[in-house]
């Protein structure tokens, strides 16, 4: 059974149809890249999966309707990393990472157990933030801040990670750092990732599967090589982006 299944997903804002009857499914251990031009509805699909927007159709987790699940049950299965984190207050790195354990002990009287502490420590170690644990998040660089939220997700330990362009404001070096951590995580734990990206070379370098969307409608979905073809891309982007994509592919290696 697929781990995630989206059936006839439609999202409307007023009269505007942002996502139009999109269906796809995803097996465990895959990295699905949702690609398409700006305004195609990529992020909206991601938002619908995490119940951040009203939709019609169904989002199923191993056959169960996510709409019927409690927020904590969803959080144990799906973690989300997004781009913009406008900070207000000077929480420490560790406080932010610790919140990742919320869904395991949401009650007032549920104490933190050893597993919570272990997970937080492991997440801080894995992301190289152990030294910065008591530092205020207001003083972090963009890369460090993004790693802090990635550490929060490692502490949350979800089965599927949803990335909504979390790295495109970072320098190439930091992008590779964050994406590399995620690739290691998939390989060691067999988790699943869904990414919203606009950078086609990034999609090709890290993805196993791709979903190409244009003006809210699904163009094609499948293994990445079958989706990222010259014909498909030309139809959507209305120009030859294939050579350009391949020429940039080298930057993700090494």
């Amino acid at each position: 059974m697929p781990i995630l299944e989206v059936k006839n997903l439609t999202v409307r804002y007023g009269n505007l149809t942002i996502v139009d009857n999109v269906s796809f499914s995803l097996e465990q251990g895959r990295w699905l890249m949702i690609i398409g031009p700006n305004g195609a509805g990529k992020s909206t699909i991601a938002k619908a999966i995490t119940q951040g927007v009203d939709y019609t159709g169904q989002v199923l987790w191993e056959g169960m309707d996510i709409k019927q699940m409690k927020p904590t049950e969803i959080a144990k299965r799906i973690g989300v990393l997004t781009q913009s984190h406008l900070m207000g207050y000077s929480f420490t790195v560790e406080e932010v990472v610790r919140l990742g354990r919320y869904s395991y002990a949401p009650g007032i009287f549920s104490p933190r157990d050893d597993q919570d502490i272990e997970q937080v420590e492991a997440a801080l170690e894995k992301t190289g933030l152990a030294k910065l644990r008591n530092q205020s998040i207001l003083t972090l660089s963009g890369g460090e801040l993004q790693r802090t939220f990635l550490a929060q997700i490692f502490a949350q330990d979800p089965l599927l990670l949803l990335l909504d362009e979390p790295t495109n404001h970072l320098d190439l070096l930091y992008q590779k750092q964050v994406l590399g951590l995620i690739r290691d995580w998939i390989r060691t734990t067999g988790r699943t990732v869904v990414s919203v990206v606009h950078d086609l070379s990034l999609a090709k370098a890290y993805g196993t599967d791709a979903l190409l969307i244009n003006k809210g409608k699904l163009v094609t979905v499948g293994a990445i090589e079958e989706v990222l073809t010259r014909e498909n891309l030309h139809a959507v982007y209305d120009m030859d982006v294939n050579d350009w994509m391949c020429s940039l592919l080298g930057q993700w290696q090494g």
């Binding site: 927020p71 969803i74 997004t82 984190h85 207050y89 949401p106 502490i117």
Partner: protein, 343 residues
């Protein structure tokens, strides 16, 4: 590898507790007639245990005037402050406080109507204002929330702030209208809208204590969720917080607690806004520490403000809201200036 402690420790409780008790003692002793601490303590001690009070101590001043008033002031300060802290976290907006939603202006409209049209409850001549304030607070909350739901089902932060502004404006217009028809009561009304805890009773204190324990307790129990909101509402949803449920819980409890405070002490500005800021500088933004510390700090802040209101132009007494607004605006400028320098 020192792991930082998240919650409020015994040491913090002692620190804030002792400071609160010290300020409390000061405020009971000092006033238009200052009474030595020893005599004050003896008067209170003896009357608790039913012992006769020695001659020469002005027992009535302490027991029936000052003590209930200072207790009420402390409880109102604590309540306003914890509400402010919670709202600033929930809306991720350092300019929010318990009155952001507009319920406190609604409550004060109720009180003003009661004063203007002499609405009283038979055999409880002074309860009219209080009951009307609570009724209006409740109606306001219902109105605001149903309006917010109609406009924006997801109850987004902007909607809440905007509706609060609109509602407060509507209420202030209505209030001006009421005052036009009751010009003879203007002095009374003005004094009330600026806030005062003059003439508070032990019954008032009991109501405030009950409200603080119940509603304050609910707010404290949501400290972790408030942390998540203070980092970001989307992040809160992603880690599994029931965003809408928590939002509704906090909005309702804050409004209820503010409603009770306004019904007893009038609108006291700036306490809920400034004290959480000062506390955040000492204990950090984590609500597990911030909220309990705000309870103590709010009590201390308002007790001192009330003391100034009583003694500054003795025998003339100032509305407490005037003092808090003066202090608050200065403190706020300093906080703002300092935070600018840091960043």
């Amino acid at each position: 590898m020192a792991r930082s402690q998240e919650s409020f420790r015994l040491r913090d409780f002692l620190f804030f507790g002792i400071a609160t008790v010290a300020v409390f003692a000061l405020c009971v002793c000092v006033g238009s007639v200052s009474i030595p601490l020893k005599d004050t303590a003896r008067a209170i001690w003896n009357s608790i245990w039913g012992l006769p009070v020695p001659e020469g101590i002005s027992n009535p001043i302490i027991l029936s005037v000052r003590l209930p008033r200072v207790i009420c002031v402390a409880l109102v300060g604590a309540s306003l402050s914890i509400c402010g802290g919670a709202m600033q976290g929930l809306l991720k907006n350092p300019l929010a406080d318990g009155s952001t939603l507009g319920v406190s202006s609604g409550a004060s409209l109720g009180a003003v109507i009661a004063i203007a049209f002499n609405i009283t409850i038979p055999s409880f001549p002074f309860a009219g204002t209080m009951v009307m304030a609570i009724i209006f607070a409740f109606i306001s909350l219902l109105l605001i929330l149903s309006l917010a739901y109609r406009l924006d089902y997801s109850l987004s932060t902007n909607t809440i702030i905007l509706i609060g502004v609109i509602y407060s404006m509507f209420v202030s217009a209505t209030m001006s209208l009421v005052i036009t028809f009751a010009y003879d009561k203007l002095r009374h009304i003005t004094f009330w809208t600026m806030g005062s805890l003059q003439g508070s009773s032990y019954q008032n204190a009991l109501v405030l204590l009950g409200a603080l324990i119940i509603f304050g307790g609910v707010i404290l129990s949501r400290a972790r969720e408030l942390n998540a909101f203070a980092i970001g509402e989307d992040n809160a949803r992603h880690i599994g917080v029931n965003v809408k449920g928590v939002k509704l819980t906090i909005l309702i409890t804050v409004s209820a607690l503010i409603g009770v405070c306004v019904s007893i002490g009038g609108v006291i500005a700036f306490v809920g806004l400034v004290t959480p800021h000062m506390v955040r500088m000492i204990v950090g933004p984590n609500h597990k520490r911030l909220l309990p510390a705000s309870v103590f700090a709010g009590a201390i802040f308002l007790m001192l403000a009330d003391l100034l209101a009583r003694i500054l132009f003795n025998p003339l007494e100032l509305p407490i809201g005037v003092v808090t607004s003066f202090i608050g605006s200065f403190v706020f400028v300093i906080i703002f200036y300092r935070s600018r320098q840091v960043s």
